[in-house]
Amino acid sequence: MADMTDQEQQLVTWLADMNEDDAFALAKKMLVEEGANPLRVLELCRNAMDIVGKRFEKGEYFLPELVLAGEMLENIGTIAKPLIKQAPGGEPKKLAKVLIGTVHGDLHDIGKNIVTFMLDINGFEVKDIGIDVPVQTFVDEINRFKPDVVGLSGFLTLAFDSMKETIEAIRDAGLRDHLKIMIGGGQVDDTVRSYTGADAFGTNAIDAVSLCKNWMGVAA
């Protein structure tokens, strides 16, 4: 973002550097005391999250930073969003729709939540349908939400079969050709990708973002 004031630049830097207290105090001051445009403040937040994502990609940041970044964004959002008066036309157009959930039999959600957050701040419209999601629910949600990409998450080895069944059901419902399917989780590798019939697998949130961007023809 080229045309930033010093104050705006400061907010972006503090957010990107995980300086939570100062960043939150400044965002609050800008929004509540100085009447800054809430859409502009949220844009600054997204800008900071881009930097966080790049640092994650470079191996400078890890899960703690992604989690804290998510929390900082949420806290500032809680103040900013009620102040938005006009229609949120300033929001950038979403790149694509991603449906994500943890497959049936598996209750784990930490990885899925981080992937959801990273896709969201990278401009995707993400619908998270939770954990232990039955096969039919995935099919129904695909029909309703019409995603471009489906993300299947699972931490346990039982998830291999659940992913396979889910992908087969998507195929049987005639929906497979219209979307890309990615799988992720602690035990997932290319052997599992091949077994389940997914298009790709990922071992972290950046993999998920890169896969979606590549599929949508967006420069990663």
Binding site: E20, F62, P64, D106, T157, F160
Partner: protein, 423 residues
């Protein structure tokens, strides 16, 4: 409760028992064993093997013992896991009203494994309480939160500072309905938990009579993982690295001390030197090298040294990929530990750690569950050729034991290949 039966160990079985134990001990001492030892850590896979439900496996002691023994007699591992403690937990969990797991009949289906519930069991603003008085925090806050049987202990008197007539008067709080109920419930639950432990002791003797020594009995946890998994929850802990850094570091240091004391006591009570320590939060992908060296490793190293000095052989299972941590976790006395790796490249681990620790693992879970026996055979050969035959003190096992869904023929292939390629 007396669940012990009499078993006779024949001279042949004793010879086999001693040879199996010696193989593992040779590896620990970094001496060449007579052949590559094999370990057998199966949990819910045993249900598949025995044709029963996961729920039955957790609750039916005799059936579980029978299936586990049958598997040992078929695969003849050198180092089997304490099946009863690891898996036949249903009655004990139910007796104490354990809240941190869902298990068959209690949140998961009869054919699903138990799963841990990641929650904040201690709030961020409770560090001071826990740091100041860990025992008080356990009694009045933590225990009632994690198991129903402890509910009521919140009403106990605050113990530090009790003295003279104040001490005498405080005893009346033990008559409070909540405390009275908790104590009565605890005594009742203790009988069920004791029976479970009795079945473990019985199974230990039963398989010893057949020539099989247990791989380990006591378990422990690293200080960081204790706080992350069982107190703060995954995301709470990650935020604490920034928000509560000093208190977290103080707590980790304190936890190292009490975990050593507790682990030495349990290892001594069980009469077994090897302590299994599953490690969840060390992987490369979870935190930076600087964070690992600040928050994760120092308290665990302190714990490892304390355990080693107390005569224990720590066996951490480094889950996921810990390749970037190898140089750091090398910093321990040689010949005292077994490092079990899940996804870390074992050849790389051998190169970095081969002169410091015995290694255990690590046939890939995806290969075990979806591959063919020929692929499993090739994976074992790879480890034999590149680790064991090059001097690595390798105890062969699956990456985290046998995954629940593994076809039986792949398990057979793993043990057959171990004999074929390494004695």
């Amino acid at each position: 409760m007396n669940t012990l039966q009499t078993y006779v160990q024949t001279p042949d079985a004793k010879t086999a028992y001693d040879a199996r134990w010696q193989r593992v001990m040779d590896c620990v001492a970094l001496k060449q064993p007579d052949r590559m030892p094999t370990a057998f850590m199966a949990t819910f896979w045993l249900a598949k093997y025995g044709g029963i439900s996961y729920r039955q496996l957790m609750y039916d002691y005799e059936k579980t013992k029978e299936i586990a023994e049958r598997a040992l007699l078929e695969f003849e591992p050198d180092s089997p896991a304490p099946t009863m403690l690891a898996i036949a937990t249903g009655n004990a969990l139910e007796a104490i009203g354990y809240k941190q797991l869902q298990w068959p009949g209690h949140g998961t289906r009869d054919d699903q494994p138990y799963q841990y519930l990641d929650r904040e069991y201690m709030k961020a603003d409770e560090y001071d309480d826990f740091l100041f008085d860990p025992t008080g925090f356990y009694l009045q806050k933590y225990l009632p939160r994690v198991a129903a049987v402890f509910e009521g202990l919140e009403e106990l008197p605050y113990l530090p500072g009790l003295h003279y007539f104040r001490l005498v008067a405080a005893v009346r709080l033990f008559a409070k309905p909540g405390v009275r109920a908790a104590l009565e419930n605890l005594m009742k639950a203790a009988e069920t938990v004791d029976a479970w432990a009795g079945h473990h002791a019985d199974f230990t003797r039963r398989i010893a009579a057949k020539g099989f020594p247990m791989s380990y009995v006591a378990t422990a946890v690293s200080p960081y993982d204790l706080l992350a998994d069982y107190f703060r929850g995954a995301t709470g802990m990650m935020k604490d690295l920034y928000r509560n850094k000093d208190k977290l570091l103080a707590m980790l240091d304190k936890a190292a001390t009490f975990l050593v004391r507790q682990t030495l006591a349990s290892s001594k009570a069980f009469g077994h030197p090897i302590v299994f320590i599953p490690i969840h939060w060390a992987p490369d992908a979870f935190m930076s090298d600087a964070q690992f060296k600040t928050f994760w490793w120092p308290s665990f190293r302190k714990m490892l040294i304390g355990l080693i000095e107390g005569g224990v052989i720590p066996m951490p299972l480094w889950e996921a990929d810990c390749t970037k941590r190898l140089a750091t976790i090398r910093d321990i006395p040689p010949g005292k530990c077994i490092y079990w790796f899940e996804r870390t490249d074992m050849v790389k681990a051998f190169e970095v750690l081969g002169d410091v620790v015995a290694l255990r693992g690590n046939i890939s879970p995806s290969l075990m569950t979806t591959g063919t026996p020929a692929q499993v055979d090739a994976a074992v050969k790879h480890l034999v050729d590149n680790v064991f035959n090059k001097g690595g003190k390798l105890i062969l096992d699956g990456a985290f034991g046998i995954p629940d869904e593994t076809p039986v023929e792949n398990v057979r292939a793993m043990f057959t290949a171990a004999r074929k390629y390494a004695g």
